[in-house]
């Protein structure tokens, strides 16, 4: 996808507003549970592992590697590469790979977060390092 693509505006809710406030500053947040120590993504107020409500925001390095991807050859907005990235901190997340030659993507490749504008908060994407 390129910058001409119009991305949907995230609809914030009380559980996720803080996440979207930080993407404005170019920060990717994950959540960590103080009770069991496990990080998770996307953010929940109650830990999906131990069900503790002692979850806190943590800034991710924004670095990770490609777990899997697929190049969708046709769409209304042209070809795009969807994939899962496993962050350095642990959690994997769904994303698109942008600002790159999509034909050269590889499983295991190092990537980093970049943000793309919407009519609201910026959205996280990933690009090869």
């Amino acid at each position: 996808m390129d910058s001409a693509v119009k991305y949907p505006t995230p609809q914030e809710n009380p559980e996720t507003t803080h996440f979207w406030q930080k993407t404005v500053d170019g920060k990717l947040l994950i959540k960590r549970c103080l009770a069991c120590g496990e990080p998770h993504y996307f953010p929940r107020s109650i830990c999906p592992f131990c069900f503790s409500d002692k979850t806190v925001w943590e800034e991710s390095s924004g670095e990770g590697e490609i777990y899997a991807f697929s190049l969708m050859r046709k769409s209304a907005s042209g070809p795009y590469a969807i994939g899962y990235v496993t962050l350095k901190e642990g959690p994997s997340l769904l994303t698109n790979f942008v600002d790159c030659d999509m034909a050269k993507l590889k499983v295991g490749q190092k990537v980093k977060v970049v943000f793309k504008t919407t009519d609201g908060a910026p959205l996280p994407f990933f690009t090869p390092v």
């Binding site: 991305y7 995230p10 990080p39 993504y41 777990y67 991807f69 697929s70 190049l71 969708m72 769904l94």
Partner: protein, 382 residues
């Protein structure tokens, strides 16, 4: 309490249409319900349980009213394409518990005529919807990861389509009746890497229905006796991004539950209906169910091993979703119907498995490897 031997599939009907611009979706539900009742030798007034999923216009209340049903038990669990495999398990539970005695399960819709309404979103929507996940590219990622970890090849995946096409040539209602080769699959256009067009199922209008009942009622009817002896269901998701693993499905849990209840093993199965939205769907599920070890699915499906009369595990002898029918983008119903045909000895003679007395019907719904459900039903001819 077990459902083993408590519920019988007395009526089946698969709508012969693959394109129905001249009919309403509710009408198709009524037509398949009528067909299944006639197959069973029962009437609408006999139905006291009803099961339908998200394809039923207006849900279970509106659908039951449209059909004119008066039921004492109902269930509108929606787990995508495997909903009907879940319903069959739940109907067996309800019958075993005495909550109903004659259950109707129906599926119908028209994705070939017009676009389907979008799926309802979960709490993940703002963190995922922008990235354009579709069935094609999510199943493509599953295939990509499977190839990365286990060396699975596109040629091996193609064998699944080849086997389905060998069966579809004998099904007069199949949407795609031509036998294809591995080369044909590999030469078809790439849709979402590494899946080619022929790795993908057909898009069809239509539907199907089942009548599930008690042993006593089934024995009073004229059809060969086919009963449920095991059922398992399971849900799987990335769970906070920690459990993401695209190489296995919830079938690793639903399968063993069903086999344990039935008291049989994968080696005992004579015929397998395996959900085939894409070739990779079949390969992963065969591994997950224990027909071969994880990672060895590619070798297992190659060289015609899934072709009836040729290989060790005849699968989807109607041509499956890959060639025959995938009504409403939901293949669970037709999986059960072909398994019942096999157990009745009523599959096409060219694909009928000799002395077929034990079959599995298994499927996943939602997005395989991501948020999805699996349901496994083990069926026996009495």
């Amino acid at each position: 309490m077990s459902i083993k031997g408590k519920a019988y599939i007395a009526g089946i009907f698969e709508h012969p249409t693959r394109h129905a611009p001249d009919k309403s979706t509710a009408q198709l539900h009524a037509e398949v319900a009528k067909g299944a009742l006639e197959d069973a030798g029962l009437t609408k007034a006999d139905i006291d349980g009803y099961f339908c999923a998200g394809d039923a216009p207006g849900g279970v209340m509106a659908m039951a009213d449209y059909l004119g049903l008066r039921v004492r038990h109902f269930d509108s669990t929606d787990t995508g394409g495997c909903s009907y495999l879940v319903h069959l398990g739940h109907a067996a539970e309800a019958i075993a518990a005495g909550k109903c005695s004659i259950a109707l399960i129906s599926l119908a819709g028209k994705p070939r005529t017009g676009a389907m309404p979008p799926r309802a979103s979960g709490a993940e929507v703002d963190f995922e919807a922008a990235y354009g996940a579709t069935t094609h590219n999510v199943y493509g990622m599953c295939a990509m990861r499977h190839m990365h970890e286990f060396g699975t090849t596109s040629e091996q995946l193609a064998w699944i389509k080849v086997a389905a096409s060998h069966h579809a040539q004998y099904n007069p209602h199949a949407m795609l009746k031509d036998v294809v080769t591995v080369e044909d699959v590999l030469n078809s256009p790439m849709i979402s890497d590494p899946l080619h067009r022929m790795d993908c199922c057909v898009v069809t209008d239509g539907g199907g229905a089942l009548i599930v009942t008690t042993e006593a009622i089934a024995r009073s009817l004229k059809k060969p006796l086919v009963r449920m002896i095991g059922h398992g269901e399971a849900l799987k998701g990335p769970r906070g991004g920690k459990d993401l693993n695209l190489t296995y499905s919830a079938g690793v849990w639903s399968g063993p539950r069903a086999f344990e209840e039935a008291g049989v093993t994968p080696k005992d199965i004579k015929y397998a209906s395996i959900y085939d939205s894409f070739t990779i769907t079949v390969l992963m599920q065969l591994e997950d169910l224990g027909f071969c070890k994880k990672g060895e699915g590619g070798k297992f499906v190659a060289d015609g091993n899934l072709i009836s009369g040729v290989g060790k595990l005849p699968f989807n002898t109607d041509g499956g979703g890959l060639c025959s029918n995938h009504p409403v983008n939901r293949g669970g119903m037709t999986k059960i119907i072909e398994a019942v045909r096999q157990l009745r000895g009523q599959a096409h003679p060219k694909v009928q498995v000799p002395n077929c007395d034990l079959a599995i019907a298994h499927g996943t719904g939602g997005l395989l490897g991501v948020r999805h459900a699996a349901s496994t039903c083990i069926l026996e001819r009495v």
